[in-house]
C-alpha cells in the first residue's frame, strides 16, 4: 500500500482545506500568470540571442509560486536554477532574474534571504540544513527551504542532507519538484522507490506527497510543514508532483525522449487553468481581470527587460572585485592588467 497519498485541495473534495484567504489565492494566481509570461518572453529573447541558456518552469508555476507564498520573508530560500519564480515571490526583483538569464550576475539581491541559485545538483540541500541549524541556535522563528528536482534525489548530498536534518532536528524543508524528468531520464529510471516522499522515512523525518499542480494544496502543505518545523517538530521532505511541460533548458530537445502524447496528457493538468477555474467558481476572477493580469505582466516584464538592456556593457573589474573580501595584491595586479587591456 502506498503510504504517501497525493494531497490535493482542488478537484478532490475534502482532502485538505485551504486555510488562507482567497485574496492570497488570487495573488498566487497573478504571480503564476507573471511567471508564465516571463518564461515565454525569455524563451523568445533566447531565440533572438538576447539571453543565454535558460531553464523555464512551464507547467510548474503552482509549485514554484505557491510554495514561496507559504514562506515568510525571514525564511531562507535555497533555490536551484529553475526557481526564478519562487525567488521573485521571495523578493528578488524581476530585473535581477533577467540579469541572471543574461549571464550578467548571480541570482542574488542584497536584503533578500535567498542564496544564489545552485547549479551543481543537490549540493545546496546541505546549505539549507546549515542555515536551519543557525536559525535554531539563534532562536529565530524562521526556517530554511531547499528547492530541487526529482533527479537530485539520486545524489549523495540529498541523502546526507536528509540524514543531518533528521539527526539535528532543525527547521528545514526539502521541497522536491517531481516534474517527471531529469533532462531525458524519467523518474522511474531515477529510483526504484514508488514515491520520492517515502525516502524521508529512511531518515526518520516526515514525508508528504502533494499535487504540485494544485497551487492551494502546495501552499497548504508547505505552510503546515513550516509550522511544524518552527514548533521544533522537525524537518519535512515534500514531493510536489508536477510536470515539466517545456524543454529542460533552451539547449534541450525533448522530442528525442518523450512523446507529444505524454506532454498533452500532462498539460491537461495545467496549474494556471486549474486555479483560474477555481477562482472563477469562487467569484473572484473574471475573464476581464484575467486579461488585465496578463497585460500587466507583459508590461512589467517588458519594462524590466528594457531597463536591463539599457545598462551598458559589463565592467571587466567586476569579475575580480568580489573574489575575496580583501583582494590579495597578486590578484589586484591581475585586475590592473585586465583593466589596461580593456582600454586598448
Amino acid at each position: 500500500m502506498n503510504q504517501y497519498p497525493v494531497v490535493r485541495v482542488m478537484d478532490v473534495e475534502g482532502t485538505l482545506a485551504f486555510s488562507s484567504s482567497l485574496e492570497t489565492a488570487l495573488h498566487i494566481y497573478q504571480d503564476m500568470i507573471l511567471l508564465r509570461a516571463f518564461d515565454e518572453k525569455t524563451l523568445t529573447l533566447q531565440r533572438q540571442g538576447r539571453v543565454g541558456t535558460f531553464a523555464p518552469s512551464l507547467g510548474q508555476e503552482a509549485a514554484e509560486i505557491a510554495s514561496a507564498y507559504a514562506l515568510d520573508r525571514q525564511d531562507w530560500m535555497v533555490p536551484s536554477y529553475r526557481d526564478h519564480g519562487a525567488l521573485y515571490v521571495h523578493g528578488l526583483p524581476l530585473d535581477h532574474v533577467i540579469l541572471f538569464a543574461m549571464g550578467r550576475s548571480g541570482s542574488y539581491a542584497a536584503g533578500v534571504r535567498a542564496l544564489p541559485s545552485s547549479i551543481p545538483i543537490a549540493t545546496h540541500l546541505l546549505h539549507a540544513v546549515g542555515l536551519a541549524y543557525a536559525l535554531k541556535q539563534q532562536a529565530e522563528p524562521a526556517i530554511a527551504m531547499a528547492y530541487f528536482g526529482d533527479g537530485a534525489t539520486s545524489e549523495g548530498d540529498f541523502h546526507e542532507a536528509l540524514n543531518f536534518a533528521g539527526v539535528w532536528q532543525v527547521p528545514v524543508l526539502f521541497f522536491c519538484q517531481n516534474n517527471g524528468w531529469a533532462i531525458s531520464t524519467p523518474v522511474h529510471r531515477q529510483t526504484h522507490s514508488e514515491t520520492l516522499a517515502q525516502k524521508a522515512e529512511a531518515y526518520g523525518i516526515a514525508g508528504v506527497r502533494v499535487d504540485g499542480n494544485d497551487a492551494l494544496a502546495v501552499y497548504e502543505v508547505v505552510r503546515q510543514a513550516r509550522e511544524k518545523a518552527i514548533q521544533g517538530h522537525g524537518p519535512t521532505l515534500i514531493e510536489a508532483v508536477t510536470y515539466r511541460a517545456g524543454p529542460h533548458t533552451t539547449a534541450d530537445d525533448p522530442t528525442r525522449y518523450r512523446t507529444s502524447n505524454e506532454v498533452n496528457i500532462h498539460t491537461a493538468q495545467d496549474p494556471i487553468r486549474r486555479l483560474g477555474e477555481f477562482l472563477i467558481q469562487q467569484g473572484l476572477l473574471t475573464k476581464t481581470l484575467k486579461e488585465q493580469m496578463m497585460r500587466d505582466s507583459k508590461e512589467r516584464i517588458n519594462e524590466a527587460v528594457g531597463r536591463v538592456e539599457a545598462q551598458g556593457a559589463v565592467m571587466v573589474g567586476d569579475m575580480f572585485r568580489h573574489v575575496y573580501q580583501t583582494l590579495p595584491t597578486r590578484i589586484q595586479r591581475q585586475w590592473h592588467e585586465w583593466e589596461d587591456r580593456s582600454h586598448e
Binding site: P120, E155, D157, R256
Partner: protein, 327 residues
C-alpha cells in the same frame, strides 16, 4: 577516410571500439535515449542495447565508483560526465580509489576505465558549465589526463585511453566540438599517451598549449608571421599526464623562447608545471623569461564576462611580442 568534426570523430570511435571489444560499456547521464547532451553517444543505445549503453541516475560519484567495480570485474567502462564541473562529486572516487587501486593492490588490480568530460568556456553556457579543472586532475598520481585539439587526435587519444590498462580522463574542449572538420582515418590508430604534437614548426618562439587554445595560438602565429615575419612553433601538449618532457624541451632548446597558454586560472595551473619542466630542460638556452597567458585567478564568471576571461588571439600575440622583444 572522411571529414569529421570532433563530436563525429568521438562518436564514430566509440561505435567502432564497442564493436571491436565486447567488454566495453558506456555509462553516464542522458547518454542513451538522448544521445548525450552534446550527442557524442547518439544512437549508440539503439546499436548496442541498454546493457552496454547505460543511462544512469543522476550521481557522478556513483558513475565513477561503479565504473571502478566494473573495471576490476572485467569490463572496460567509458564514463561520460556531462560537464567537467560536475565531476567534483566523484573526486573522492578518483583520488582515493580509481587512481591508487593498482598501487594499493601491489599491481594485482587495475582501473582500466576512461572518463570523458566536455570542458571550458566560450559557448555562453550557464554558470559552472565552463570550468577548466585539468590542473587538479594532473596532481593525482596514477591517473592519466589527455586533451585533444583536433578531430583526428580526439580519435587517436580516445582509442589509446580505452586500451590503456590505467585510468584516463579525456577532456573534450566544448568550443572545438563542432568548430571544424578534418580528415579522420577510418582505421583504429592510437595517439600514444605521453606524446606532444608539433602543430607547426618554427625557429623563433615556442607556444606551448593544448585544447581550445591551439587554434587561437595558430591564428596569433599567422598574424605575427605576416606582420613581422616571426616563425612561431606551436606545441600541442595533448597528453598532460604523462607529460612529453622531451618534445617540450627540444622545442625550447631550439627557439630559446616560450609562451604558455591555457584557459584555466594562473595560480597552480598546469602552465606552472610546463614552465618548470621547460626550465629544467632548456634553462641555458633561454633568451627571455617565459610568459604565461591564462585565465585570471577568479572563478569562471557569468558569461557576460566570458570574452574577458578566456585568452584570445590578441593576448597571445601580445605575449609572443613580449618574449620576442627581449634580446
Amino acid at each position: 577516410m572522411s571529414e569529421k568534426n570532433m563530436v563525429e570523430a568521438l562518436h564514430d570511435t566509440l561505435s567502432q571500439m564497442m564493436q571491436h571489444d565486447p567488454r566495453l560499456v558506456l555509462l553516464g547521464e542522458d547518454i542513451g535515449v538522448n544521445g548525450g547532451v552534446f550527442r557524442v553517444t547518439d544512437q549508440l543505445l539503439t546499436q548496442f542495447g541498454s546493457d552496454r549503453v547505460i543511462d544512469t541516475p543522476l550521481a557522478e560519484s556513483a558513475i565513477v565508483g561503479t565504473a571502478l567495480g566494473m573495471a576490476i570485474g572485467g569490463l572496460r567502462p567509458v564514463c561520460e560526465i556531462q560537464f567537467l564541473g560536475f565531476l567534483y562529486p566523484a573526486l573522492d572516487q578518483l583520488i582515493s580509489h580509481v587512481s591508487r587501486i593498482r598501487a594499493r593492490s601491489a599491481g594485482a588490480l587495475g582501473a582500466a576505465l576512461v572518463i570523458r568530460a566536455p570542458f571550458g568556456g566560450g559557448i555562453r553556457a550557464p554558470e559552472q558549465h565552463a570550468d577548466s579543472a585539468e590542473g587538479y586532475l594532473t596532481t593525482i598520481p596514477g591517473l592519466k589526463v589527455a586533451i585533444p585539439s583536433s578531430p583526428a587526435d580526439a580519435k587517436g587519444l580516445l582509442i589509446a585511453a580505452i586500451e590503456d590498462e590505467d585510468p584516463v580522463v579525456l577532456l573534450e574542449p566544448i568550443r572545438l566540438y563542432r568548430l571544424g572538420r578534418e580528415e579522420v582515418p577510418d582505421t583504429l590508430y592510437r595517439v600514444p599517451l605521453g606524446t606532444a604534437r608539433i602543430v607547426q614548426p618554427g625557429r623563433d618562439v615556442s607556444v606551448i598549449t593544448y585544447g581550445a587554445m591551439v587554434p587561437l595560438a595558430r591564428a596569433a602565429a599567422t598574424q605575427l608571421q605576416q606582420r613581422y615575419g616571426w616563425d612561431v612553433e606551436i606545441v600541442d601538449v595533448r597528453s598532460l599526464s604523462p607529460l612529453d618532457e622531451e618534445t617540450l624541451g627540444q622545442s625550447v632548446r631550439k627557439t630559446g623562447r616560450a609562451v604558455i597558454v591555457h584557459e584555466a586560472p594562473l595560480t597552480g595551473g598546469f602552465g606552472a608545471e610546463i614552465l618548470a619542466t621547460v626550465t629544467e630542460q632548456a634553462f641555458w638556452w633561454l633568451k627571455a623569461p617565459i610568459v604565461r597567458v591564462t585565465g585570471p585567478d577568479v572563478p569562471f564568471p557569468p558569461y557576460a564576462w566570458e570574452d574577458w576571461y578566456v585568452p584570445n588571439v590578441s593576448r597571445i600575440a601580445h605575449a609572443i611580442g613580449q618574449v620576442m622583444a627581449e634580446e
